[in-house]
Symmetry: C2
């Protein structure tokens, strides 16, 4: 058991990414993933519904953390400030695992079905942020707009971070991107 | 042949929306759509690949018109001004057909597969605008961000327009939304 793979779920995730990158997502089987992780297929299915969910199981945690950070932002914060707090939470969650994010992104970029799944997850995230902003008192259209702009910033920043140099700071990229939105509207 | 349905494609589109709204998208068949439009199934397939594409055939035109407007905006225009020109082109394309857009949106909202398809089309549109901005000299990250913000504005405005009162002005809603993005970043 390696230092960075202390648990079965983590080992399965790493094994799945290895196989998806080596042989392609379509070719890899659950049996192969379990074998490489040193667990049984039964253990795989205790953690993940299928081989696709190995890549997306983190989405629920991301949504929960971002929604919680948005809800916890000060009452006087503007909608976009509340969204910025949610983006900071995303940076905390992902920010220290650039190597893993790069590998995951490479797998998703290579497969149309996975790219679509990622879009759907991002749309759900936008819905969750919209709902959170409504609960803070934003009107529907304002909540939707601020949430969608937040997701635009998140997607763009995440891609820049993954494509960028080793040691990149996701939180910093996110804050720069938010500032850039302001710059875009000012010109 | 009705005044507002002069062509087979238009009659097929209207007949399909009728059936999707009356009986649900899943239940409707190409044979039923063709029959209601007063054409043969063969004519249907001359215009559309399948019953889903009746709803999405306009996406290519939308992408072409928006990309052309972006490319035609003045050389000195900022990325977001170029995106605004693309949004104006979208308003010209859709703006005079609120009733049709409402019906189409109701069908899509009721069906998960169609909502996913719409997300994919929007992502392609964002890619096209990103590419157009790059060709105008924007750096990758700036182009992506401006395009994604533009699509956020488009999706939000389109929904507000469809949900809003009869006689609503899509172009006006789009311009208000763009201004609102600026407001969001200023607070």
């Amino acid at each position: 058991m390696g230092r960075w793979e202390p648990d079965a779920a983590g080992r399965l995730r790493a094994a799945a990414l290895d196989l998806y990158l080596e042989h392609g997502y379509e070719q890899a089987t659950v049996a192969q993933i379990a074998e490489r992780a040193g667990v049984t297929a039964r253990t795989f299915f205790r953690h993940f519904a299928d081989k696709r969910e190995v890549l997306f199981a983190g989405s629920e945690i991301l949504e929960q953390e971002m929604a919680a950070a948005l809800a916890a932002s000060p009452a006087g914060a503007s909608p976009l400030e509340a969204v910025a707090a949610a983006l900071d939470a995303a940076a905390v969650l992902f920010g220290d695992n650039l190597a893993h994010s790069r590998r995951r992104q490479a797998v998703i970029a290579a497969n149309a079905e996975l790219r679509e799944r990622e879009l759907i997850k991002m749309a759900r995230l936008a819905d969750a942020l919209t709902q959170g902003l409504r609960e803070r008192g934003s009107a529907d259209a304002e909540a939707r707009l601020a949430a969608e702009v937040g997701i635009a910033v998140f997607r763009t920043s995440y891609q820049s971070w993954v494509d960028g140099p080793d040691g990149g700071d996701l939180g910093g990229v996110l804050r720069d991107s938010l500032a850039q939105v302001r710059g875009l509207t000012e010109r």
